[in-house]
């Protein structure tokens, strides 16, 4: 498959199909990335996993009740209901019994997901829901959905409109409640001392998560959405020092992984949502390497300064082994670093050890 076919044809040959797909993908991954940042900071990354699985029975029941995908309100109610039940069960299980939090998560997550799958199978004839779609959705069908009709003009496919509304609402709410969110994520104790209602913040986040997951459900399914929550946030976390930077980087990651994922899906001819996650994982890999390099240079520069300071303090040439003992370093990496320093002219390596360039070599007659 030529590069033209992968990168140009989708935009030139197929009308606005890919435009809608990319827009939907970006909206989903953007709203997930913002939520993911707060989940990650609150150490609730797996809670996102659990809630995204737990909304399934709610979705199925809403389908049964309303009879189709069209009733967005029923879907939201079902998902929020199921999500809150899941969050509450997890809290109760691990607060009221001997089970630890990880076990509570694992049990509730699988139980609710299994319930949803059984419901789907039992009512297979009455709901139009593919078990595989539950796992990874189908972005390619988004442009085929009915359009929102405003004044006789087809505006946009309904799922895109819904997801756009959710993204906008998340952005506005996030801006309005930025400070309480920030405080309760970084320092819950101080937040509580200042009178912040911590449980409300927790459950509000769970409601937002449930609504986002269910709106994105059709596009990316209930399992891959976990990646959209965690990948951008984790990548940004590795590079950013401040929350606004982290949110910005996560948004960038979300958009880039949507774009790259779309083209990857065309190249590999596979599920778009899965390809988006793979592209996002690739971006995460790049961020990881950056973080590793920065950590290494940071550590090396600290060690360099420490070596020079030690040499200044100790008179005369110092045996390498002695230097390693004083600084509690390993000998082989120390030797590499000393070689670098010698090349820069910062230290001199002589037969009797290491010394600073300006230092006099004490003559052998001056015994101690």
């Amino acid at each position: 498959m030529s590069l033209n076919q992968i990168f140009l044809d989708p935009w030139t040959q197929t009308g606005d199909l890919y435009g809608w797909i990319l827009l939907m993908a970006s909206l989903v991954s953007l709203s997930c990335s913002w939520l993911g940042c707060f989940l990650l900071l609150r150490r609730m990354a797996l809670m996102g996993d659990a809630i995204s699985h737990a909304v399934l029975p709610g979705i199925v029941l809403a389908f049964l009740w309303s009879g189709s995908l069209q009733s967005q309100l029923a879907l939201w109610l079902g998902a929020v209901g199921a999500g809150l039940v899941g969050a509450f069960l997890i809290e109760t299980l691990h607060a009221r019994s001997r089970l630890k939090e990880d076990a509570a998560l694992g049990i509730v997550l699988t139980a609710q997901f299994a319930l949803g799958m059984v419901l789907i199978s039992v009512f297979a004839s009455r709901i139009d829901l593919d078990p595989d779609c539950v796992l990874y959705g189908e972005l390619a069908f988004i442009p085929l959905r009915p359009y929102l009709n405003v004044l006789g003009y087809d505006l946009a496919p309904l799922p895109v409109v819904t997801m756009g509304g959710v993204t906008l609402a998340l952005a506005v709410l996030g801006r309005l409640f930025y400070r309480p969110l920030l405080l309760s994520s970084f320092d819950p104790l101080l937040g509580r001392a200042l009178g912040l209602p911590a449980p409300y913040v927790h459950y509000a986040l769970m409601v937002a998560l449930s609504i986002t997951v269910v709106s994105a459900f059709e596009a990316v399914g209930a399992v891959l959405v976990v990646a959209m929550l965690i990948l951008p946030a984790a990548s940004a976390f590795l590079l950013a020092q401040r929350l606004p930077t982290m949110l910005g980087l996560a948004s960038l990651h979300a958009f880039l992984s949507s774009l790259l994922g779309l083209h990857l899906a065309i190249a590999l001819d596979c599920s778009i949502a899965a390809a988006m996650v793979v592209a996002g994982a690739g971006l995460f890999g790049i961020c990881w390497i950056f973080a590793l390099l920065r950590r290494r240079t940071g550590r090396l520069s600290v060690q360099r300064q420490a070596i020079l300071a030690l040499l200044e303090r100790e008179p005369g040439p110092l045996e390498v082994v002695e230097l390693a003992r004083l600084g509690r370093w390993e000998v082989p990496p120390l030797l590499t670093l000393l070689g670098l320093l010698e090349k820069e002219g910062k230290v001199l390596l002589g037969p009797r050890g290491v010394r600073l360039p300006g230092e006099e070599v004490p003559s052998s007659t001056q015994g101690h």
């Binding site: 076919q5 630890k100 390619a140 390809a275 990881w288």
Partner: protein, 450 residues
């Protein structure tokens, strides 16, 4: 149009393969009969498979639960998928051994990835697991959807690795499950003491010189192998539940490790068989979700009604204790009023504890039914009631005396404590108290000890 290429695989997929229970025109009752007559050869395979599965998962799950690795199980369960798909794509055939080998490699790569991420970044453990889980799963889905387009995946039943299909269990799968069960049994029997120590107190184990890291690696290896062999029966998405849920159910029922292990195996086997049964009887039900639902239902039952830990049993026990205290308090109040030779009437009883008339009347009714009140007069104690009330007052005053004499607490601080403890002092303890205090006759407030 390229777009239809992309979406086409979904439409082009043939209907799902035939399941155990899919028989034309069979109703529920006939299906149940067919299940228990065991006439279906695939059913025998499925049942043996779920028994082996329950055994393997129950044994290992207990240690996974104790080491707080439940979500690691979930991570491994999801991440074996790309291994299966890759092995299939490379060899082009559904050879059980090759698929299992691919899955095992993917699982090991996943646990290594989690370890590496945790070591080299500042990300928390749960984030690392979520990252690895979703990335590996997405890789698997990429491969699976690529295969699906050509219809290959459904032909070979590769898509059954998502939600499991016990009906499709073959001899090779059973061999794998049996091997996993045997290996786990060997692991638990041979390394019981070491695994127990590491599970309960890893620091102490390290200080004794046990290779904690190696044992952890061994456990991860066994978990990976078990999950991989269970894939065909339960599916990648829910397989971790078979590891965690039966063990969690068992841990609610007992605190002794050997008993927990036995119970976990029992619940594992039970939920496996129940899941197979429901998947067989109902039409169009995938086995994995059915097994997990059965396991979760058993867990819910244990959580509500376990003899020690159960939520309902605890609530019931608490209510019973509260009722006992309330009745005994009323009994004591009557005795005290008689002792003070005050007028014993309903109003006085209400005032003694700030109760409403209705509450006092209902308590008196219960006391009468239990034979603590004399038959002639409403507020006279029967001999039995007299004894009981005397015992309570005696407990109360003895304890007050003990607190003032032995614990040097001021006499005006001891009443509240005694008020609570008087209901729960055992006869032996009371005897010891008397001996210790030299069979006293007066309490710190000068009232006689009856």
């Amino acid at each position: 149009m390229r777009f239809f290429w992309l979406g086409g695989w979904l439409l082009a997929r043939p209907a799902s393969a035939i399941r155990i229970g899919d028989l034309e025109g069979a109703n529920l009752l006939e299906q149940v009969q067919r299940f228990f007559s065991f006439s279906d050869p695939a059913l025998g395979y499925a049942l043996v498979g779920s028994i082996l599965l329950g055994l393997a998962c129950g044994l290992l799950g207990t240690f996974v639960l104790l080491r707080r690795l439940s979500m690691m199980g979930d991570t491994l369960g999801h991440s074996v998928l790309p291994g299966v798909v890759l092995a299939f794509t490379l060899t082009g055939q559904k050879d059980v051994v090759l698929l299992l080998a691919g899955a095992c490699l993917a699982g090991l790569a996943a646990s290594f990835s989690v370890w590496l991420l945790q070591r080299t970044t500042s990300l928390k453990e749960d984030t690392c697991m979520g990252l690895v889980l979703s990335t590996y799963f997405a890789l698997g889905i990429v491969g699976l959807t690529r295969l699906s387009k050509s219809g290959l995946a459904s032909q070979t039943g590769l898509d059954k690795f998502l939600f499991g299909q016990a009906a499709a269990l073959g001899g090779g799968d059973l061999l794998g499950l049996g091997l996993a069960a045997l290996l786990n049994l060997a692991l638990v029997v041979l390394l019981y003491k070491e695994m127990k120590l590491v599970a309960f107190d890893a620091d102490f184990a390290r200080s004794l010189g046990l290779p904690v890291q190696a044992l952890h690696g061994l456990l991860m290896l066994a978990v990976t192998f078990t999950l991989v062999t269970a894939l065909q029966a339960v599916g990648a998405v829910l397989v971790s539940a078979m590891l965690v849920t039966p063990a969690a159910t068992a841990s609610l029922l007992s605190t002794r490790l050997p008993k927990v292990l036995g119970l976990a195996v029992f619940f594992g086997i039970l939920s496996g068989c129940l899941g197979t049964f429901f998947s067989f009887v109902g039409s169009n039900l995938p086995t994995g979700p059915c097994m997990v639902m059965s396991a979760s239902a058993l867990f819910a039952l244990a959580w509500l009604a376990a003899p020690e830990q159960g939520w309902l049993t605890r609530a019931w026990r608490q209510a019973r204790r509260r009722r006992k205290v309330a009745l005994e308090n009323t009994l004591k109040d009557i005795f005290l009023l008689h002792e003070r030779q005050a007028s014993v009437d309903l109003e006085a009883l209400c005032q003694a504890r700030g109760l409403t008339l209705k509450e006092v009347q209902s308590r008196l009714k219960t006391l009468r039914r239990l034979g603590y009140l004399s038959d002639h007069s409403c507020l006279q104690l029967s001999p039995k009631g007299q004894d009981e009330a005397r015992r309570l007052v005696r407990n109360h005053r003895l304890w007050e005396l003990f607190l003032t004499h032995e614990a040097q607490i001021a006499p005006d601080h001891v009443h509240r404590d005694a008020e609570e403890l008087e209901h729960f002092l055992s006869p032996e303890l009371v005897q010891r108290l008397e001996q210790r205090l030299g069979h006293p006759t007066l309490d710190p407030h000068g009232s006689p000890i009856p």
